[in-house]
Symmetry: C2
Subunit: 101 residues, 2 copies
DNA sequence: ACAACAGTAAACCACATGGTTCACCAACAG
DNA sequence: CTGTTGGTGAACCATGTGGTTTACTGTTGT
């Protein structure tokens, strides 16, 4: 279900979290620090990313460590490539069709 | 603003529209036909895709023709590739760090 | 043992979103 | 000219979403 991942990435704060996490793991507090938001709000976003299969979290002691999943973006990447391929082959079809005339 | 494109693709009906449009242009009615939705609803979705820069529409006579933009998904593709690159290089960093120990 | 700290749960709120229906306009087809 | 068809605008509605605050739990440093 790739639309769930798109929806998760559709929110700017969530997108920023992913970009942050691509640089390396971080605690929930680390993620909240650069923002003006409250910690609960950030943690809700993390939960959404987790549900979308983009992020995994583990709780070590009292801090929750968040990290980007290794396979996080493959579904997105493959879907995108697939649609681009379809669209470009259709362009080819149009090109040959124009040549026939 | 790539998050807008992600948000646009986050809705299942909108995603389906894009997949349909990748096979070739279609009228608003064509897009509404396979769904159970009303035409105004579909047209609202098309408008969202248009605002996100994924789709262009032209009105020929009384029918509105919708087509996928040629550069629709490049921003999405490049962003995804970039984050994947960042994440994988970080993994390399961790690998070398482990070797040092 | 205690105080401070990181996270969590719950209740709540404002607003955006996805959908409907109805009335209407413009373009064909006869 | 007239009826039908494709699309549009507006009003409206239910639900989801992004955020808050407050109160609480469990960990950690002293």
């Amino acid at each position: 279900m790739v639309h769930q991942q798109f929806a998760a990435l559709g929110d700017p704060t969530r997108l920023a979290i992913v970009e942050r996490l691509a640089r390396g793991p971080a605690s929930a507090g680390d993620l909240a620090a650069p923002t003006t938001m409250s910690l609960p709000a950030v943690l809700k976003h993390v939960r959404v990313l987790e549900d979308a299969g983009l992020v995994t979290t583990v709780k070590r002691g009292r801090v929750r460590e968040c990290r980007l999943r290794d396979d996080a973006l493959v579904a997105v990447a493959t879907w995108t490539a697939q649609q681009q391929a379809l669209w470009s082959t259709r362009l080819d079809a149009l090109g040959t069709l124009l040549e026939d005339m």
